[in-house]
Amino acid sequence: MFRGERLVLNNVSFSLSNGGVLLLRGANGAGKSTLLRALAGLTPLAAGTLFWDGVDALEDFAEHAARIAWLGHLDAVKPALTPAEHVGAGALGAVGLAAYADLPARLLSAGQKRRLAIARVVASGRKLWLLDEPTTGLDAASVAQFLRLCEAHRADGGMIIASTHTPLDLAAPEVLTL
């Protein structure tokens, strides 16, 4: 995989089953975000294949996109919209933002915006969560809440691939160091 003209990842291979979680570790610039973007189909693979149930997942981008809930390192929060307008009021309780449902997002703190972005992932109902540094800006209580949401998603058969610098206390994670 290339970032611009630079080869950042080579010979990467892994598999993930229903309910599985894969944590991507590595130094800054190791290619964690690039790998996540490639898995989402946002960045093309220079070589190799991404399989989903034995079929080339990127053959049909729209079908692949419909499986993925994406949390990038940016929150994708519009300051002028309220949290309820971003994800629907029903999804905000899971991340403790119900009280701020009708407040313009520009008035939220950085941590609250991150929680709003997490609420969008949870509300998506999609099978594979791709999370880039998901706990950035979160306090300890919010991290614990996020971990509970992850475990609930896994219990439903969902899969998670997350890049992280800080340890995430998830049950039986697989770790890929880049």
Binding site: A40, G41, L42, A62, W70
Partner: protein, 214 residues
């Protein structure tokens, strides 16, 4: 796709400055011509259609750099591409939102501007008729240019350099339809260009969005 258009309209209503700036530019630029050329009704009436068309073209360019720019900077573009909508549908929704928030208001206020420029009242319906596909073409081609220049250095400079030459045929047929004694041919050409751009511009813009996200 309807949800995305509604969301864009809601954002535009909460931040009306972009659309308002385009409309104000349109009116102010149009009112400069009588100051420069004099208030003679014959002179103004002769150039009114061209002035309205050129001012509309330039005004419609103003909000284009934020059409995808804000989404690109805050990470929303990735979500749009992963929303399940094909990239061309995302681009089409943005085009529709641009037309509704900029093209349509320009169309509406072009009538008073044309009257101020002494355009004969009988020509007004024709002006509005040409601006209907004309402003839609502006939105379609502008969206394509905005997507192509997304993430580029000096995108704000590049975008008019791409859009303006592509709009020259629209400008020629649009302005000449209003002034010509036989406007049908020019109107047909405008309609044909609109029908051609309607599928092609979103397809091109969608491909450019995918490339920008890489």
């Amino acid at each position: 796709m309807i949800d995305l258009i509604w969301r864009e309209l809601r954002l535009s209503l909460r931040h009306p400055a972009d659309s308002a700036a385009a409309l104000l530019f349109f009116v102010i630029a149009g009112t400069l011509f009588p100051f420069a050329l004099g208030p003679g009704p014959t002179t103004l009436a002769a150039i009114a259609a061209g002035v309205v068309w050129v001012c509309a073209l330039l005004a419609a360019l103003l909000p284009l750099d934020r059409l995808f720019g804000a989404d690109f900077e805050d990470g929303t573009l990735d979500l749009l591409l992963l929303s399940g909508l094909p990239p061309y549908a995302v681009a089409f929704a943005k085009t529709a939102a641009h037309w509704l928030t900029t093209g349509l208001p320009l169309l509406v206020i072009s009538a008073p501007l044309a009257i101020m420029l002494r355009m004969p009242a009988g020509r007004l319906p024709l002006l509005l008729l040409t601006l209907l596909p004309g402003t839609a073409l502006l939105s379609l081609i502008g969206t394509l240019a905005a997507a192509i220049t997304l993430g580029a250095r000096r995108a704000g400079v590049l975008m008019p350099l791409i859009t303006l030459p592509l709009m020259i045929p629209t400008l020629i047929f649009g302005a000449s339809a209003v002034t010509s004694p036989h406007p049908a041919a020019a109107l047909y050409m405008l309609g044909a260009m609109f029908l051609g751009a309607l599928p092609l511009a979103p397809l091109g813009a969608g491909a450019a969005l995918r490339a920008a996200a890489e």
